[in-house]
Protein backbone atom coordinates (compact mmCIF):
# COMPACT_ATOMS: atom_id res chain seq x y z
CA UNK A 1 0.00 0.00 0.00
CA UNK A 2 2.78 2.38 0.91
CA UNK A 3 4.48 1.94 -2.47
CA UNK A 4 1.38 3.21 -4.32
CA UNK A 5 1.82 6.62 -2.68
CA UNK A 6 5.31 7.13 -4.01
CA UNK A 7 4.35 7.89 -7.62
CA UNK A 8 1.75 10.38 -6.33
CA UNK A 9 4.32 12.08 -4.13
CA UNK A 10 6.78 12.10 -7.02
CA UNK A 11 4.27 13.77 -9.36
CA UNK A 12 3.30 16.22 -6.65
CA UNK A 13 6.93 17.12 -6.04
CA UNK A 14 7.49 17.70 -9.74
CA UNK A 15 4.40 19.91 -9.90
CA UNK A 16 5.47 21.87 -6.83
CA UNK A 17 8.90 22.51 -8.29
CA UNK A 18 7.27 23.44 -11.58
CA UNK A 19 4.99 25.98 -9.89
CA UNK A 20 7.89 27.49 -7.99
CA UNK A 21 10.01 27.79 -11.11
CA UNK A 22 7.16 29.30 -13.12
CA UNK A 23 7.42 32.43 -10.98
CA UNK A 24 10.62 33.64 -12.59
CA UNK A 25 11.09 34.30 -16.25
CA UNK A 26 13.95 32.58 -17.99
CA UNK A 27 15.63 34.18 -20.97
CA UNK A 28 13.07 36.94 -21.42
CA UNK A 29 12.78 38.43 -24.88
CA UNK A 30 10.93 41.68 -25.48
CA UNK A 31 9.18 42.97 -28.57
CA UNK A 32 8.48 46.63 -28.07
CA UNK A 33 7.32 49.77 -29.79
CA UNK A 34 7.63 53.25 -28.36
CA UNK A 35 5.47 56.25 -29.19
CA UNK A 36 6.94 59.64 -28.38
CA UNK A 37 5.32 63.05 -28.60
CA UNK A 38 7.25 66.27 -28.19
CA UNK A 39 5.09 69.17 -29.37
CA UNK A 40 5.20 72.22 -27.14
CA UNK A 41 2.89 74.22 -29.39
CA UNK A 42 -0.10 71.97 -29.43
CA UNK A 43 0.05 70.08 -26.15
CA UNK A 44 1.64 70.82 -22.82
CA UNK A 45 2.92 67.33 -22.04
CA UNK A 46 5.72 65.31 -23.53
CA UNK A 47 4.79 61.65 -23.82
CA UNK A 48 6.83 58.47 -23.88
CA UNK A 49 4.54 55.45 -24.27
CA UNK A 50 6.03 51.97 -24.57
CA UNK A 51 4.02 48.91 -25.56
CA UNK A 52 5.72 45.56 -25.29
CA UNK A 53 5.34 41.78 -25.16
CA UNK A 54 7.38 39.55 -22.91
CA UNK A 55 8.27 36.06 -24.07
CA UNK A 56 9.78 33.73 -21.52
CA UNK A 57 11.55 30.46 -22.22
CA UNK A 58 9.20 28.89 -19.68
CA UNK A 59 5.80 29.75 -21.11
CA UNK A 60 3.96 29.57 -17.80
CA UNK A 61 5.62 32.66 -16.43
CA UNK A 62 5.06 35.07 -19.26
CA UNK A 63 1.34 35.65 -19.10
CA UNK A 64 0.86 36.40 -15.45
CA UNK A 65 3.94 38.18 -14.24
CA UNK A 66 4.09 41.73 -13.01
CA UNK A 67 6.46 43.96 -14.89
CA UNK A 68 7.82 47.21 -13.52
CA UNK A 69 9.33 49.89 -15.73
CA UNK A 70 11.94 52.35 -14.53
CA UNK A 71 12.70 55.47 -16.53
CA UNK A 72 14.90 58.29 -15.26
CA UNK A 73 14.36 57.30 -11.67
CA UNK A 74 10.58 56.89 -11.88
CA UNK A 75 9.24 53.38 -11.33
CA UNK A 76 5.80 52.46 -12.64
CA UNK A 77 3.93 49.17 -12.70
CA UNK A 78 3.14 48.26 -16.29
CA UNK A 79 -0.51 47.83 -17.23
CA UNK A 80 -1.46 44.64 -19.02
CA UNK A 81 -4.04 44.37 -21.75
CA UNK A 82 -7.25 42.57 -20.79
CA UNK A 83 -7.45 40.70 -24.06
CA UNK A 84 -3.84 39.91 -24.88
CA UNK A 85 -0.63 39.69 -22.92
CA UNK A 86 0.66 43.04 -24.08
CA UNK A 87 2.04 45.45 -21.51
CA UNK A 88 1.98 49.21 -21.70
CA UNK A 89 3.65 51.92 -19.70
CA UNK A 90 3.56 55.68 -20.17
CA UNK A 91 5.70 58.48 -18.83
CA UNK A 92 4.50 62.04 -19.26
CA UNK A 93 5.87 65.34 -18.00
CA UNK A 94 5.26 68.97 -18.86
CA UNK A 95 6.95 69.30 -22.19
CA UNK A 96 8.79 72.60 -21.90
CA UNK A 97 11.59 71.20 -19.74
CA UNK A 98 11.13 67.50 -20.28
CA UNK A 99 13.84 65.79 -22.28
CA UNK A 100 16.51 67.00 -24.63
CA UNK A 101 16.56 65.08 -27.89
CA UNK A 102 18.58 61.88 -27.81
CA UNK A 103 18.63 58.19 -27.00
CA UNK A 104 16.99 56.94 -23.84
CA UNK A 105 16.27 53.56 -22.29
CA UNK A 106 13.46 52.16 -20.16
CA UNK A 107 14.52 49.36 -17.81
CA UNK A 108 12.08 46.53 -17.19
CA UNK A 109 12.11 44.45 -14.02
CA UNK A 110 10.08 41.47 -12.91
CA UNK A 111 8.84 41.26 -9.32
CA UNK A 112 12.05 39.96 -7.79
CA UNK A 113 14.19 42.35 -9.78
CA UNK A 114 11.98 45.25 -8.75
CA UNK A 115 12.20 44.27 -5.08
CA UNK A 116 15.98 44.28 -5.40
CA UNK A 117 15.83 47.61 -7.19
CA UNK A 118 13.79 49.13 -4.37
CA UNK A 119 16.25 47.76 -1.82
CA UNK A 120 19.12 49.28 -3.74
CA UNK A 121 17.28 52.61 -3.88
CA UNK A 122 16.75 52.56 -0.13
CA UNK A 123 20.42 51.85 0.28
CA UNK A 124 20.07 48.72 2.37
CA UNK A 125 23.23 47.01 3.53
CA UNK A 126 24.80 44.76 0.94
CA UNK A 127 22.81 46.15 -1.96
CA UNK A 128 24.75 49.12 -3.18
CA UNK A 129 24.31 48.72 -6.90
CA UNK A 130 21.16 48.72 -8.96
CA UNK A 131 20.35 45.20 -10.25
CA UNK A 132 20.48 44.29 -13.92
CA UNK A 133 17.11 44.82 -15.56
CA UNK A 134 15.24 41.93 -17.12
CA UNK A 135 15.16 43.85 -20.38
CA UNK A 136 15.83 47.31 -21.70
CA UNK A 137 13.79 49.25 -24.26
CA UNK A 138 15.81 51.85 -26.16
CA UNK A 139 14.29 54.67 -28.14
CA UNK A 140 14.98 58.11 -29.55
CA UNK A 141 13.20 61.14 -28.15
CA UNK A 142 12.71 63.79 -30.84
CA UNK A 143 13.49 67.46 -30.59
CA UNK A 144 10.69 69.48 -29.05
CA UNK A 145 8.75 71.40 -31.68
CA UNK A 146 7.98 74.87 -30.43
CA UNK A 147 5.57 77.36 -31.81
CA UNK A 148 7.11 80.42 -33.42
CA UNK A 149 8.89 82.51 -30.83
CA UNK A 150 7.64 85.73 -32.37
CA UNK A 151 4.33 86.09 -34.17
CA UNK A 152 4.25 86.79 -37.87
CA UNK A 153 2.11 89.86 -37.21
CA UNK A 154 4.89 91.32 -35.08
CA UNK A 155 7.40 90.72 -37.86
CA UNK A 156 5.07 92.37 -40.37
CA UNK A 157 4.56 95.41 -38.15
CA UNK A 158 8.31 95.77 -37.59
CA UNK A 159 9.01 95.55 -41.33
CA UNK A 160 6.32 98.15 -41.97
CA UNK A 161 7.80 100.53 -39.41
CA UNK A 162 11.25 100.02 -40.90
CA UNK A 163 10.03 100.71 -44.42
CA UNK A 164 8.14 103.83 -43.26
CA UNK A 165 11.21 105.14 -41.49
CA UNK A 166 13.34 104.57 -44.57
CA UNK A 167 10.78 106.30 -46.79
CA UNK A 168 10.54 109.26 -44.42
CA UNK A 169 14.28 109.75 -44.17
CA UNK A 170 14.67 109.41 -47.94
CA UNK A 171 11.95 112.03 -48.48
CA UNK A 172 13.63 114.38 -46.03
CA UNK A 173 16.98 114.05 -47.78
CA UNK A 174 15.40 114.66 -51.17
CA UNK A 175 13.55 117.76 -50.03
CA UNK A 176 16.54 119.28 -48.29
Amino acid sequence: MATSYIPCLFVFAILAIGVALAGSCEKPSIKSSVYTAADAHFSNHGIVSATFNVQCANKAASSSMDVYAVFRGRAVQAAQDLDSSQYQVTFSEPVKTYLPAGGYAIDLYDEDGYAQYRKAQRGEAGKSSVPEPMARIEFEYPRVRHSLWVHSETVAVLLLLGASFYAYSARKSILS
Partner: protein
Amino acid sequence: NTFQQVAMCKISSALVLLMMVMSCMADTEERAQIVALKTILNNLVVKGKDITVQYDLYNVGSKAARNLQLEEEGFPSDYFELKAGLLRARWASLPAGANVSHSVVLTPLQSVMFNVSQATVRYRASEDSRGFTVGQTSGFGEVVIYDTAAYDRQFSAHATEWLTFGLMSLPSIAIPMALWYKSHRKYAALATRKLD
Protein backbone atom coordinates in the same frame (compact mmCIF):
# COMPACT_ATOMS: atom_id res chain seq x y z
CA ASN B 1 -4.73 75.33 -18.19
CA THR B 2 -8.42 75.32 -17.53
CA PHE B 3 -8.95 71.63 -18.22
CA GLN B 4 -6.40 70.74 -15.60
CA GLN B 5 -7.77 73.25 -13.14
CA VAL B 6 -11.24 71.80 -13.56
CA ALA B 7 -9.81 68.31 -13.22
CA MET B 8 -7.89 69.20 -10.06
CA CYS B 9 -11.03 70.75 -8.64
CA LYS B 10 -12.94 67.58 -9.47
CA ILE B 11 -10.39 65.24 -7.91
CA SER B 12 -10.02 67.29 -4.75
CA SER B 13 -13.77 67.56 -4.29
CA ALA B 14 -14.16 63.84 -4.98
CA LEU B 15 -11.51 63.01 -2.38
CA VAL B 16 -13.03 65.38 0.19
CA LEU B 17 -16.48 63.88 -0.34
CA LEU B 18 -15.10 60.39 -0.04
CA MET B 19 -13.29 61.17 3.19
CA MET B 20 -16.45 62.71 4.64
CA VAL B 21 -18.49 59.67 3.69
CA MET B 22 -15.95 57.28 5.06
CA SER B 23 -15.60 59.10 8.33
CA CYS B 24 -19.37 59.05 8.76
CA MET B 25 -19.58 55.33 8.17
CA ALA B 26 -18.41 53.08 10.94
CA ASP B 27 -15.40 51.64 9.24
CA THR B 28 -15.73 48.06 10.36
CA GLU B 29 -14.48 46.57 7.16
CA GLU B 30 -10.98 46.80 5.73
CA ARG B 31 -11.19 47.08 2.02
CA ALA B 32 -9.69 48.78 -0.98
CA GLN B 33 -11.36 51.80 -2.48
CA ILE B 34 -10.35 53.14 -5.87
CA VAL B 35 -10.93 56.73 -6.92
CA ALA B 36 -10.33 57.27 -10.61
CA LEU B 37 -9.83 60.49 -12.50
CA LYS B 38 -9.88 60.91 -16.25
CA THR B 39 -8.38 64.00 -17.86
CA ILE B 40 -7.37 65.20 -21.29
CA LEU B 41 -3.89 66.63 -21.18
CA ASN B 42 -4.28 68.95 -24.18
CA ASN B 43 -5.67 72.46 -24.17
CA LEU B 44 -7.56 71.96 -27.42
CA VAL B 45 -8.93 68.95 -29.22
CA VAL B 46 -8.41 69.33 -32.95
CA LYS B 47 -9.30 66.84 -35.64
CA GLY B 48 -6.22 65.03 -36.91
CA LYS B 49 -3.98 66.06 -34.01
CA ASP B 50 -3.13 63.65 -31.19
CA ILE B 51 -4.65 64.05 -27.76
CA THR B 52 -3.53 62.28 -24.61
CA VAL B 53 -6.11 60.96 -22.18
CA GLN B 54 -4.74 60.23 -18.72
CA TYR B 55 -6.39 57.99 -16.13
CA ASP B 56 -5.20 58.35 -12.52
CA LEU B 57 -6.27 55.59 -10.17
CA TYR B 58 -5.84 56.18 -6.43
CA ASN B 59 -6.34 53.51 -3.80
CA VAL B 60 -7.79 55.39 -0.83
CA GLY B 61 -8.80 52.24 1.01
CA SER B 62 -6.93 50.33 3.66
CA LYS B 63 -6.17 47.17 1.71
CA ALA B 64 -4.59 46.46 -1.63
CA ALA B 65 -6.94 46.26 -4.59
CA ARG B 66 -6.56 43.04 -6.57
CA ASN B 67 -7.01 42.51 -10.30
CA LEU B 68 -7.67 46.16 -11.00
CA GLN B 69 -9.18 46.60 -14.46
CA LEU B 70 -9.83 49.75 -16.46
CA GLU B 71 -12.18 49.51 -19.43
CA GLU B 72 -12.68 52.47 -21.72
CA GLU B 73 -15.56 52.19 -24.18
CA GLY B 74 -16.16 55.88 -24.69
CA PHE B 75 -13.90 56.42 -27.73
CA PRO B 76 -15.50 54.54 -30.63
CA SER B 77 -13.22 53.71 -33.49
CA ASP B 78 -15.09 55.79 -36.07
CA TYR B 79 -14.55 58.91 -33.97
CA PHE B 80 -11.06 58.26 -32.58
CA GLU B 81 -8.05 56.34 -33.78
CA LEU B 82 -5.87 54.73 -31.14
CA LYS B 83 -2.26 55.79 -31.60
CA ALA B 84 -0.65 54.33 -28.48
CA GLY B 85 -1.84 52.79 -25.24
CA LEU B 86 -4.40 50.26 -24.12
CA LEU B 87 -8.07 51.09 -23.77
CA ARG B 88 -8.58 47.97 -21.64
CA ALA B 89 -5.85 47.56 -19.07
CA ARG B 90 -5.32 45.74 -15.84
CA TRP B 91 -2.93 45.72 -12.95
CA ALA B 92 -2.44 42.71 -10.70
CA SER B 93 -2.62 44.76 -7.51
CA LEU B 94 -2.55 48.32 -6.27
CA PRO B 95 -1.37 48.72 -2.67
CA ALA B 96 -3.29 50.83 -0.19
CA GLY B 97 -2.36 54.47 -0.48
CA ALA B 98 -0.66 53.99 -3.83
CA ASN B 99 -1.68 55.39 -7.17
CA VAL B 100 -1.08 54.45 -10.77
CA SER B 101 -1.36 56.51 -13.90
CA HIS B 102 -2.28 55.26 -17.35
CA SER B 103 -2.26 57.22 -20.60
CA VAL B 104 -3.74 56.65 -24.00
CA VAL B 105 -2.96 58.63 -27.17
CA LEU B 106 -5.84 59.11 -29.60
CA THR B 107 -6.40 61.00 -32.84
CA PRO B 108 -9.87 62.47 -33.40
CA LEU B 109 -11.24 61.64 -36.82
CA GLN B 110 -14.29 63.91 -36.94
CA SER B 111 -14.94 67.48 -35.88
CA VAL B 112 -18.03 67.27 -33.74
CA MET B 113 -19.14 68.10 -30.21
CA PHE B 114 -18.12 64.96 -28.36
CA ASN B 115 -19.14 63.87 -24.89
CA VAL B 116 -16.17 62.36 -23.10
CA SER B 117 -17.87 60.11 -20.58
CA GLN B 118 -16.71 57.84 -17.78
CA ALA B 119 -14.63 54.71 -18.10
CA THR B 120 -15.34 51.67 -15.96
CA VAL B 121 -13.06 50.52 -13.16
CA ARG B 122 -13.48 47.14 -11.51
CA TYR B 123 -11.42 45.46 -8.83
CA ARG B 124 -11.53 43.02 -5.97
CA ALA B 125 -11.77 45.02 -2.78
CA SER B 126 -9.93 42.47 -0.67
CA GLU B 127 -8.35 39.08 -1.08
CA ASP B 128 -11.36 37.16 0.12
CA SER B 129 -14.04 39.21 -1.58
CA ARG B 130 -16.07 37.14 -3.96
CA GLY B 131 -17.15 39.56 -6.65
CA PHE B 132 -15.77 42.64 -8.29
CA THR B 133 -16.37 46.15 -7.07
CA VAL B 134 -17.35 48.18 -10.09
CA GLY B 135 -16.90 51.92 -10.24
CA GLN B 136 -16.41 54.64 -12.79
CA THR B 137 -13.83 57.26 -13.48
CA SER B 138 -14.81 60.90 -13.52
CA GLY B 139 -16.26 62.04 -16.79
CA PHE B 140 -14.80 64.90 -18.69
CA GLY B 141 -17.85 66.48 -20.26
CA GLU B 142 -18.47 67.85 -23.71
CA VAL B 143 -15.45 68.82 -25.71
CA VAL B 144 -15.45 70.60 -29.01
CA ILE B 145 -13.32 68.85 -31.59
CA TYR B 146 -12.20 71.72 -33.80
CA ASP B 147 -11.89 71.43 -37.50
CA THR B 148 -8.38 71.88 -38.86
CA ALA B 149 -9.48 74.99 -40.79
CA ALA B 150 -10.91 76.70 -37.71
CA TYR B 151 -7.81 75.87 -35.70
CA ASP B 152 -5.49 77.20 -38.39
CA ARG B 153 -7.51 80.37 -38.78
CA GLN B 154 -6.94 81.18 -35.15
CA PHE B 155 -3.63 79.68 -34.21
CA SER B 156 -1.38 79.15 -37.15
CA ALA B 157 1.46 81.49 -38.03
CA HIS B 158 -0.18 82.81 -41.18
CA ALA B 159 3.26 83.15 -42.74
CA THR B 160 2.03 82.34 -46.24
CA GLU B 161 -0.75 84.90 -45.90
CA TRP B 162 1.71 87.61 -44.93
CA LEU B 163 4.05 86.65 -47.75
CA THR B 164 1.21 86.82 -50.26
CA PHE B 165 0.19 90.21 -48.86
CA GLY B 166 3.76 91.46 -49.17
CA LEU B 167 4.03 90.29 -52.77
CA MET B 168 0.68 91.83 -53.67
CA SER B 169 1.53 95.19 -52.13
CA LEU B 170 4.97 95.25 -53.72
CA PRO B 171 3.82 96.68 -57.10
CA SER B 172 2.24 99.75 -55.51
CA ILE B 173 5.58 100.49 -53.83
CA ALA B 174 7.98 99.28 -56.51
CA ILE B 175 6.44 101.14 -59.52
CA PRO B 176 6.64 104.70 -58.03
CA MET B 177 10.11 103.90 -56.71
CA ALA B 178 11.27 102.76 -60.15
CA LEU B 179 9.86 105.92 -61.77
CA TRP B 180 11.54 108.13 -59.19
CA TYR B 181 14.82 106.32 -59.58
CA LYS B 182 14.74 106.73 -63.34
CA SER B 183 14.20 110.49 -63.15
CA HIS B 184 16.63 110.81 -60.22
CA ARG B 185 19.36 109.18 -62.24
CA LYS B 186 18.66 111.45 -65.20
CA TYR B 187 18.83 114.63 -63.12
CA ALA B 188 21.82 113.43 -61.12
CA ALA B 189 23.64 112.83 -64.39
CA LEU B 190 22.60 116.30 -65.59
CA ALA B 191 23.82 117.86 -62.33
CA THR B 192 27.26 116.24 -62.61
CA ARG B 193 27.50 117.23 -66.29
CA LYS B 194 26.67 120.83 -65.39
CA LEU B 195 29.42 120.96 -62.81
CA ASP B 196 32.06 119.78 -65.24
